[in-house]
């Protein structure tokens, strides 16, 4: 047919024919995509994004502003991958497209500074993360935040929504726990390594502590391996493949030990990325095999607890709860029933809202970088949640918790937004 087209992707990791030709453009993904539902444009649908990758690879479309805009707008929620009958590996197409953008597309000076500071300096080391988190905590606690909010300055600068989304820094970070071992209560039934997470450690340290309590109460010995690092999810999703590989190697060294039955996380995004380590390090001669062993041991907290079985709680939770599936749990890891089982086990009345497994618009840093679309998606989600009138909205990922809390406020909903583990914790103590 036509002569071999010249790709606008550079060599190296890119969306290839083998990956994108699986898409038969049937369109069954469209209505499952939150950005398509919010915007109604083909460019912002999974089918359209894949087609744009094809166009760039065929040299019909430049790797330029338009392409970057629509790829940036993807939540990476993987709802489409669940809907796709053809088995298009959308996640890996997206990672490759983003990696190409990082390599070949000059972002604005400001964006470059922010991105390199956040992904290159803040996240990779727990030390720098703690320093930055202390600054944010100072802003939040010293009265500066109240002052900024009260003065209307944030609204004036157009960052009021973003400010509301920033997590409240905890008084005690989880880093203090590094290297500790928490013994099982009663008969020991297992031994796990716990990933405390980067953002989790500074903003959700209390959730980490609740996770430890629930595990130990259930007869599990919990180790917090000292040299663990951020899981690399944020880097992977932003197109920094190499940095995420470095973190993957780091965590394999820190947590792949024969004495651990499982490597547990309470963040769906981290779990999903850790389960990708084998694919990520597929061509790494030194780590490929260990990455496979690592992946076999990774468990989301709800997956692990459902597997070992909960001990009877001290009291039953009498409440109407709706569970919102985090995308990286339901779509990326296929875990849907475990968290619901746990909730029912402790006595919750679990009510299903429409589209419970559709993205809330949080998606890592998406609610900050694509705030307007994110809020549109969130408002649609809150309509669905409000329709079942829950007392409690439970989820299983810190990003979703933050986003849904903001959503509840916007909607004027009185429901409490919690992590499943926090409800378990309440039932035990």
């Amino acid at each position: 047919m036509a002569e071999k087209p010249v790709s606008n992707f550079s060599s190296g990791e890119k969306p290839t024919w083998d990956l994108y030709s699986k898409c038969v453009h049937c369109g069954l993904c469209l209505d499952q995509c939150p950005t398509y539902r919010a915007l109604g444009t083909e460019m912002d649908s999974p089918r359209g994004r894949i087609y744009q990758m094809v166009l760039v690879d065929q040299g019909r479309l430049a790797l330029s502003d338009s392409f970057v805009t629509h790829i940036d707008r993807c939540l990476g929620c993987m709802n489409c991958q669940t809907a796709c009958p053809s088995g298009v590996p959308y996640g890996s197409l997206l990672e490759r497209a983003r990696s190409q953008i990082e390599e070949n597309y000059p972002r604005s000076w400001l964006q470059r500074q922010v991105r390199s500071h956040f992904y290159g300096k803040v996240l990779p080391s727990f030390g720098s993360l703690a320093r930055n988190a202390r600054l944010v905590r100072f802003y939040q606690r010293s009265g500066l935040q109240s002052l900024a909010r009260g003065s209307g300055l944030l609204k004036l600068l157009g960052v009021a929504d973003l400010d509301a989304l920033s997590p409240r820094m905890e008084s005690e970070f989880s880093f203090a726990d590094l290297g500790r071992v928490y013994p099982a209560e009663g008969t020991q039934r297992g031994r796990v390594a716990l990933l405390i997470g980067c953002i989790g450690s500074v903003a959700f340290a209390e959730l980490n502590r609740a996770t430890i309590r629930v595990l130990t109460r259930n007869g599990i010995e919990v180790h917090i391996p000292k040299s663990q690092s951020c899981c690399g999810a944020l880097h992977l999703h932003a197109g920094y493949l190499e940095q995420s590989r470095t973190m993957a190697r780091h965590n394999i060294d820190a947590m792949l030990k024969p004495e651990f039955d499982a490597i547990v996380t309470n963040a769906a995004g981290c779990g999903s990325t850790m389960k990708e380590y084998a694919a990520l390090l597929e061509h790494d001669a030194e780590y490929a095999e260990r990455a496979q062993q690592f992946v076999v041991k990774v468990r989301d907290i709800s997956e692990y607890l459902a597997q070992v079985g909960l001990v009877e709680p001290a009291r039953k939770l009498k409440a109407r709860v709706t569970y919102q599936d985090p995308c990286h749990l339901a779509h990326a890891q296929g875990i849907r029933s475990a968290p619901r089982q746990l909730l029912k086990f402790i006595g919750a009345e679990v009510v299903e809202s429409p589209r419970a497994d559709s993205c809330c618009g949080s998606a890592g840093v998406y609610n900050v970088t694509q705030n307007e679309i994110s809020m549109k998606i969130l408002d649609e989600k809150m309509e669905d949640i409000a329709s079942v009138m829950p007392e409690i909205v439970a989820t299983a990922n810190v990003g979703c918790m933050l986003q849904l809390s903001v959503g509840a406020k916007r909607k004027g909903l009185n429901s409490r937004v919690v992590h499943v583990v926090e409800l378990l914790d309440e039932a035990y103590y």
């Binding site: 047919m1 036509a2 087209p5 024919w17 994108y20 030709s21 699986k22 898409c23 038969v24 453009h25 049937c26 369109g27 069954l28 993904c29 469209l30 209505d31 499952q32 398509y36 109604g40 444009t41 083909e42 460019m43 359209g48 894949i50 087609y51 744009q52 094809v54 166009l55 690879d57 065929q58 019909r60 479309l61 430049a62 338009s66 392409f67 809907a83 796709c84 009958p85 053809s86 088995g87 298009v88 429409p354």
Partner: protein
């Protein structure tokens, strides 16, 4: 009178290259409701089929009044207009063959009214088929037409193509479920045909409009019937050693006086492929299966289920399974509904046909398809609505192989010609579109086609609406003259 419409006029703009038109569109629909940059327009050149052609602009109206103004503008400027729902069609119905303007209905997607007492709903064209059923599920109601793409396709698109689905065997196609439409004509006039009443008086304009593939007007609101969910549903899977045995069973079931709600066939090759995706528990070593659904009052369904099992076993079925609960039923249907797209796992592209034969001819046509596959050295899978003889041979190909694609087209034509010989037709539910228009003259005489074209031209005389669809190309004198843009076939990739 015939002479009058033969002289349909004018050159249509291949692209909306008049900046004035785009500005005007923005004034009508809003600044962010018009696309005119090439990088965006390329995303509107395809549907779920195999042809493509790029529009000159895309507009996203939010209400009927805007559609009316857009149509008035398009007619005045002589710009071709194609309506688009979710572009899940397989016959090229929403492809802008002559460039021009695409009216996309993704932002006109509200359910306007649910009338429980009269079992009607009024919807905008962009409402997704399945969303309507989900929306009224708590009332014990649903919208019966259930194309395999129902998770994504829009009701506006269903109306244009007169879509069917597995359950058309009992419930009929879209036209049997639409009682009224609001339509914008090329002049911009807004007219209303039918309403909530079951039967219309005077000419059945609603019936004419459904299935007109966007060539006579743009539908902006649709009144549909909502059915009550049946008291009992039984879903059976008959497993056969050969396609022939399964094919013979189809007419044996109806001959036994049973009309299933749905009666679907999947051949052995397709079963294999689909099973990898849905894990429905389809037997991997079977020659073919029949998916049979019965619905109605509890006692009747139980009686029929026993009778169907007996017929299947008499026709050499290896076994007959029954879905024990809703979960198992859903799984069996998931396999059926996702079957087309699941082929993406084994082939870069496929070409689907939509021929229809009388039920009794299914064994013959299946044998013919087998022979055609051999003759042209192609893999052809079969998943189809056996109950109403609506075939969907899926021909696998790789677009990088041009020679193979020629064989695909020849094979496809040969299959459809056989359908016509058997007393059948070339489309059951996908529409004629660009795909099958050249075959229309095998089904209809010149005189037949003249009447149809005359009817179209009474509404769409200037030919601005969906040009180059339904009617055969050689009839250019009756079609729109002017430069024709040969739609490009889908290239590598998508």
């Amino acid at each position: 009178m015939v002479q009058l419409w033969r002289r349909s006029k004018a050159v249509l703009h291949l692209a909306v290259n008049l900046p004035g038109v785009v500005d005007h569109l923005r004034k009508i629909a809003g600044r962010d409701a018009v696309l005119d940059r090439p990088e965006d327009l390329m995303l509107y050149e395809y549907d779920a089929g195999i042809r493509k052609s790029t529009p000159g602009a895309v507009v996203f109206p939010q209400n009927t009044e805007q559609v009316s103004q857009i149509m008035r503008l398009a007619t005045a400027e002589n710009v071709a207009v194609v309506a688009r729902g979710a572009a899940t069609g397989l016959s090229g119905g929403s492809i802008p063959t002559k460039g021009g303007l695409v009216i996309a209905f993704s932002r006109m997607n509200r359910i306007l009214e649910v009338d429980v007492e009269n079992q009607r709903a009024v919807v905008q064209p962009g409402v997704v088929n399945l969303q309507l059923s989900e929306h009224v599920a708590h009332l014990g109601l649903y919208f019966a037409p259930d194309p395999s793409s129902q998770k994504a396709c829009t009701i506006g698109g269903n109306v244009a193509e007169n879509s069917g689905g597995p359950h058309t065997l009992m419930h009929g196609v879209t036209v049997n479920h639409v009682t009224g439409v609001e339509v914008v004509l090329p002049s911009g006039e807004i007219v209303h045909f039918g309403g909530k009443a079951a039967e219309s008086y005077g000419y059945d304009m609603t019936g004419f409009l459904v299935g007109s593939e966007g060539t006579v007007g743009i539908t902006t609101a649709i009144t549909v019937k909502l059915l009550r969910k049946p008291e009992k549903i039984a879903t059976l899977l008959g497993v056969f050693e050969s396609v022939d045995d399964a094919a013979l069973t189809v007419s044996a079931i109806t001959a036994a006086g049973i009309t299933p709600a749905a009666l679907e066939m999947l051949d052995g090759w397709t079963l294999h492929t689909v099973e990898a995706f849905c894990h429905a528990g389809y037997p991997l070593d079977a020659g073919a299966v029949l998916l049979i659904e019965l619905e109605g009052l509890r006692e009747a369904v139980e009686e029929q289920a026993i009778a169907v099992r007996e017929v299947c076993l008499r026709q050499k079925a290896r076994e007959v399974r029954r879905a024990k609960d809703e979960e198992e039923r859903a799984l069996l249907w998931k396999g059926r509904k996702m079957a087309f797209a699941a082929l993406g796992r084994v082939t870069p592209s496929y070409y689907t046909q939509d021929g229809v034969v009388p039920r009794s001819q299914i064994p013959a046509v299946m044998r013919h398809i087998g022979n055609v596959a051999k003759k042209y050295d192609l893999i052809i899978g079969n998943i189809f609505h056996a109950g109403d003889g609506n075939l969907h041979p899926l021909i696998l190909f790789d677009m990088r192989n041009a020679e193979q694609f020629e064989r695909v087209l020849s094979a496809s034509t040969e299959i459809l010609e056989f359908c016509i010989q058997c007393g059948g037709s070339i489309t059951g539910e996908h529409g004629v579109g660009m795909e099958k228009r050249d075959l229309m003259s095998r089904l209809f005489t010149e005189e037949d086609l003249d009447v149809m074209i005359g009817l179209r031209n009474a509404f769409n005389g200037a030919g601005v609406l969906n040009p180059q669809k339904i009617f055969p190309t050689p009839r250019m004198c009756r079609e729109i003259s002017g430069p024709s843009q040969n739609p490009v076939l889908m290239q590598e990739g998508l």
